[in-house]
């Protein structure tokens, strides 16, 4: 009985997660192509996608590696890209915190932007779901997206050499990033944080060890948080 109900929530999650394939597959494919072009072997590229398992940070790391940035800078900058997942982790913990540790350990690995977004929407819409139903929904949402990320990377390695120069593939990464950034501009705080990030990253581009981006990000983050404080205070008064 409860197995059947859990199953229906699994498929509800699956349907909610499936549209993200349209982003995940081209993005994963692109990572395979770009990483191979940068000189990574197939094994290294596949390990990157399956071990790190976080697209935006993988591209960020790869870009810095191409620029020969020091190891610590590559790691710090790419991890900074992933810091938002601490927030995902915290807000999922409210709903899934009572699951057994081994389940939470697995959920943590698959906690990507897409699975987080659809799951948290579902949990907040239907706060009466049982823990089993919530976990089933999460795994449903993960199923279409996560394996395809790794498979698409493999496909990218495979087709990489066949992509002709005229396709201007160098610019596919910036275009993908911009398309992902644009919908994030939800509030004034987000917009100002993004602007500070852009201006400082350009101004500080000459800093040694590629420290510019990290510095720009730190300041931009504080600006975003501070603007949020001001705007909520203003709205309250």
């Amino acid at each position: 009985m409860s197995g059947a109900i859990a199953k229906s929530y699994y498929w509800a999650g699956f349907r909610a997660g499936a549209p993200f394939l349209l982003v995940t597959v081209p993005f994963g494919l692109l990572f395979g192509v770009v990483a191979t072009e940068a000189g990574l072997t197939s094994l290294q590229t596949m390990a990157f996608s399956s071990v790190v398992f976080a697209g935006a940070s993988q591209f960020a790391a790869l870009q810095l590696m191409i620029e020969d940035a020091p190891i610590l800078i590559v790691i710090a900058t790419a991890l900074a890209v992933n810091l938002r997942m601490a927030m995902y982790s915290a807000s999922l913990a409210v709903w899934l915190g009572d699951a057994p540790l081994w389940q939470r350990a697995l959920i943590a690995y698959a906690n990507v932007d897409q699975s987080y977004a659809v799951s948290i929407n579902q949990y907040e819409d239907k706060p009466d779901l049982t823990l089993t139903q919530r976990v089933a929904f999460f795994w449903g949402a993960v199923t279409p997206v996560c394996p395809m990320w790794v498979l698409a990377t493999g496909l990218g390695i495979w087709v990489g050499d066949a992509i002709p120069d005229w396709m201007a593939l160098d610019f596919a990464v910036p275009i993908c990033f911009l398309a992902i950034i644009a919908p994030m501009m939800r509030t004034l705080a987000h917009v100002l944080a993004a602007l500070v990030s852009i201006v400082l990253a350009l101004v500080l581009a000459g800093l040694p060890y590629n420290l510019g981006l990290l510095g720009a990000a730190l300041v931009a983050m504080m600006v975003g948080a501070q603007v949020e404080v001001w705007t909520t205070r203003k709205a309250a008064s």
Binding site: A78, A108, A194
Partner: protein, 109 residues
């Protein structure tokens, strides 16, 4: 790029990213997180990614860092469509079409 360089980065990012994902879910529980921390975490993606992309857009490697009108226009179109429609796929498609159309119009093919 040396082997150690590549594998160290993959391993460190793998472990670090996992620990970030596991953090509150695995160890602490979400309710105890102070407001100001959550407030900063909300802006991490939007603080890092635009700064990462900006130099790639203004100083593309394909032109050895010279400003390139097709790439700059394509970037602005992608961003504009993305903000207006909030649709990632539509933004990527419009940006791509703009890029090819501009390169073609400027006679680079």
């Amino acid at each position: 790029m040396s082997l150690t360089y590549i594998w160290t980065i993959i391993a460190a990012l793998g472990i670090g990213t996992y620990l970030i994902r596991f953090s509150f879910l695995g160890l602490i529980g979400g309710k105890n997180l102070p407001d100001w921390v959550l407030r900063h975490l909300r802006y991490t993606a939007v603080a890092v990614l635009p700064g990462l992309v900006a130099p790639l857009v203004l100083w593309p490697s394909a032109t050895d860092g010279a400003i390139d009108p097709p790439r700059l226009t394509a970037a602005l179109v992608t961003l504009g469509i993305g903000i207006l429609t909030r649709n990632v796929i539509a933004a990527i498609l419009c940006g791509g079409v703009t890029l090819f159309a501009m390169i073609w119009a400027m006679g680079a093919y």
